[in-house]
């Protein structure tokens, strides 16, 4: 159930992307004096650090999104890659060489000029130091400069999703050559983005507008990210005017806020997905009939209602409906009788005991697991919901010490992100030990297929097999839910949860 879909605001986003180069001109802010023209945003957590190549925390990327740039950037409507620090790119005949032409007249926050050496330095830093995003360069053979305005990336096999790999989030940010040696990037930021990192404390992080921004310079003077962990407090702070924006809204109040004039509420389906998975290496969950019985007994609507108060779209595949790569496939209708028969046919004696591992780091998994437990009881499966902290959860997952678990994959942009490492035999994220040679073949071919239509066909076929085999039991795509002060304009809610304040104007 969505109250307002503010995709109409897309027009404003387009404004910020039509880069009117030429850096130097500073724009008259026209509004308020001093600190009054600062947007205060309530976010739920403190960034752990600010090195874009090292951090993995969403709280950090909320800030870094506004400070750093990448070569390409997903657009707000459908997350296809658009120019950012690179103005255009071409691939060679054999698809093994990508040439990116860089934007001219861009300066870093320290005043230095942006050129190809910075791109080469940034990418090689990630590759050579084996930083957390180095897996994104798995097919990359070399990153080299060809003059100051061109970067050449050579790959070992066709990599159609290279733009998504280097642009989908600010973890692939471009930093100035030598920055990691010259400044402490964990506390300082030297980007090319619309805001500079001013300061950060245990209470808030403060950004100031970058007058020399290569795009449209922000009309606000700055942004203060204030950490308010308790959703009820964040919403109250928004309602009484202490803050002007928040993404920390009590889920049970989303419905009621739709009719509330004191806040502007926006929701949009995200590219995240939540799922349950069973251990293929542990009987009886290696039995396809048992897995299919469970997939038939689970009522995704009820799970979604309980876990997200309906702020989500039930889905039997990973990719949300709005996406080009969505596979229209939903073979499971909730049917307890059919599920019971499948269990009978499997020959596995009931009751079947299943430990379902969830983590209080993501409370919605705990709620969802309780609902699933009650839904599986009538078909003779006794679910023990095992709630642990995230550190223990990750340990057990990596050791294969589970019957079943629940979690989500967040911020997926390309179908490769949605399916590849999770389902290919021996894949880095294939903790459930799924193996189907047909799926392996389809996923491998899809990863190098450069024709988009054929690529979608391959992923469609792979998806059907993955769903039929219940490698993952897909549950839902949650909505992004954000709210701001009435009258605030120029902000656009995005499916990838990137938070971009460059075009914002205060009421």
């Amino acid at each position: 159930m969505r109250s307002t879909r503010l995709l109409a605001l897309a027009a404003v986003g387009a404004l910020s992307l039509t880069a009117c180069s030429g850096g130097g001109d500073s724009v008259d802010t026209g509004g308020g004096s001093g600190g009054d023209n600062v947007l205060i945003a309530a976010v739920s957590a403190q960034p752990d650090q600010f090195d874009p190549h090292v951090t993995n925390a969403y709280a950090s990327f909320q800030v870094l999104e506004n400070v750093y740039d990448t070569l390409v950037v997903p657009n707000a409507e459908d997350l296809t890659m658009e120019p950012s620090l690179a103005t255009e790119w071409t691939t060679s005949e054999d698809d093994l060489e990508w040439r990116f032409t860089l934007r001219e007249g861009v300066t870093f926050h320290d005043g230095s000029e942006f050129d190809s050496a910075d791109v080469v330095y940034s990418y090689n830093r990630i590759i050579d130091e084996e930083l957390s995003n180095s897996y994104r360069f798995a097919t990359v053979e070399s990153v080299e400069a060809d003059g100051p305005q061109t970067v050449v990336i050579r790959v070992t096999q066709p990599t159609p999703n290279l733009p998504a790999l280097i642009g989908s989030f600010k973890g692939m940010a471009i930093i100035p050559e030598g920055a990691a040696e010259d400044v402490d990037l964990t506390t300082e930021a030297v980007g090319t983005g619309p805001f500079r990192l001013e300061s950060s404390s245990a209470s808030s992080t403060v950004l100031t507008a970058n007058e020399d921004y290569w795009g449209q310079a922000p009309s606000i003077d700055g942004v203060e990210f204030r950490y308010i962990t308790e959703p009820a407090a964040a919403l109250t702070a928004l309602q009484n005017g202490e803050v002007q924006w928040t993404d920390n809204i009590p889920p049970q109040q989303v419905d009621a806020l739709g009719g509330d004039d004191s806040v502007e509420l926006a929701t949009t389906p995200s590219v995240d997905y939540w799922y349950m998975s069973m251990n293929f290496a542990r009987p009886p969950f290696d039995n396809p009939q048992v897995r299919r019985a469970i997939a038939t007994a689970v009522d995704r609507e009820a799970v979604t209602q309980a876990a997200r108060f309906d702020a989500a779209q039930p889905n039997q595949t990973a990719i949300p409906e709005d996406s080009f790569f969505h596979t229209d496939y939903a073979p499971f209708d909730v049917d307890v009788e059919a599920a019971r028969q499948l269990i009978e046919q499997s020959g596995v004696p009931t009751p079947i005991r299943m430990g379902l591992m969830v983590t209080d780091e993501y409370p919605e998994t705990v709620t969802a697991a309780q609902v699933i437990a009650s839904q599986l009881e009538p078909i003779g499966i006794e679910v023990e919901v095992q709630t642990t902290d995230f550190a223990t959860w990750l340990d057990r997952q990596s050791q294969g010490d589970f019957d079943a678990f629940m979690l989500g994959w967040l911020g997926n942009v390309d179908p490769f992100d949605f399916y590849h490492a999770q389902h290919i035999t021996g894949g880095a994220s294939n903790y459930q030990k799924y193996s189907n040679p047909q799926v392996d073949d389809l996923l491998t071919r899809a990863s190098t297929e450069t024709d988009e239509k054929s690529r979608k066909d391959l992923y469609d076929q792979a998806t059907r097999l993955i769903v039929d085999d219940v490698s993952y039991l897909y549950l839902y795509n949650p909505d992004v839910v954000q709210a701001w002060a009435p009258g605030l304009s120029g902000y656009e809610i995005r499916a990838d949860k990137a938070i971009n304040f460059e075009g914002v104007e205060l009421p």
Binding site: E129, T186, T187, S201, S203, Y227, A233, A391, L394
Partner: protein, 291 residues
């Protein structure tokens, strides 16, 4: 303590990397953070540095542990002392009054109030206060912290609600101690003697009752203060109060061993110092202990 922190299941490297990473990345980060070395060696490295005041560097943020603690110490000290003040302002009059008139209406009301203060969950009380005083009435900000030196008015406005919530909980506990120790002192032989001598009630009370009742009060206040200084996690979270409790919680969740060890070390020191102060106060209050 070092062993305990490291024995808890969970791998800080895996947590720092999230869910998508390669094995090479994992190995590289493990080596950088020194976690690939034997635990005994890690302990002695840490211990030698800690003796020199160097508590190491956070895995999570790259900041030094001492700077992380120093950043949050003022907020924790402020809240702890403000809460104890609120607690004593509630507990001393309420406990004394109910002891002077046992089983009276005052006594019963005080008992019920302190029972409520102990049993109402602090997060619930905190959220109700926010909804009423920051939401409906709009008198106070929802939370946060500003240093006293920057904005005294804002400092006080933000301090009121968290101090009241933690103060009410501590005050309820202390009220019961005040009541029982005053009652006990009232029944003591020397008080009966003083009354028999015909001393005025006020003099009996200040010289013979209060001084004797003070000892248990000092003890329980010390315990409460130590508890408040080690951070009140729930209240800090609800009121966005950047104290040590939140830091300790974050470091447990992230298995950020250096920060966690630093925080535990600090809490241990706090208990030692407070115990010392309480013992010194004993000798000041009761001359017999000096001997």
């Amino acid at each position: 303590m070092f062993a305990l922190v490291h024995l808890v299941p969970g791998d800080p490297v895996r947590l720092a990397l999230g869910t998508r990473f390669s094995q090479e990345t994992y190995d590289a980060l493990r080596e950088r953070s020194g976690l690939d070395r034997p635990l005994v060696e890690q302990f002695f490295t840490w211990f030698a540095r800690a003796l020199g005041g160097d508590l190491g560097v956070s895995f999570r943020s790259g900041d030094t542990v001492t700077s992380l603690i120093a950043e949050r110490l003022p907020a924790t000290l402020t809240l702890a002392f403000a809460s104890i003040l609120v607690a004593l302002v509630i507990a001393i009059p309420l406990g004394t009054l109910s002891a002077l008139r046992p089983r009276s209406v005052v006594d019963r009301v005080a008992t019920v109030l302190s029972q409520i203060g102990i049993s109402v969950p602090d997060f619930w009380m905190a959220i109700v206060l926010i909804l009423v005083f920051a939401g409906t009435l709009g008198w106070l900000p929802t939370g946060g912290y500003v240093p006293l030196s920057e904005d005294p008015g804002g400092w006080l406005a933000r301090l009121v609600m968290p101090a009241v919530v933690t103060g009410v909980v501590s005050g309820s506990v202390i009220t019961r101690f005040v009541r029982s120790s005053v009652l006990e002192a009232l029944g003591a032989d020397h008080v009966r003697t003083a009354q028999a001598k015909g001393l005025p009630t006020r003099q009996v009370f200040t010289w013979h009752v209060v001084r004797n009742a003070l000892l248990p009060l000092v003890t329980v206040t010390g315990v409460q203060l130590a508890y408040l200084l080690s951070g009140v996690v729930v209240v800090e979270i609800v009121f966005s109060w950047p104290g040590l409790g939140q830091l300790a919680l974050q470091s447990v969740e992230a298995r950020d061993y250096p920060v966690l060890q630093g925080a535990i070390l600090l809490f241990a020191l706090v208990f030692l110092v407070i115990n010392l102060v309480v013992d010194l106060l004993y000798t000041a209050i009761d001359p017999r202990i000096r001997r």
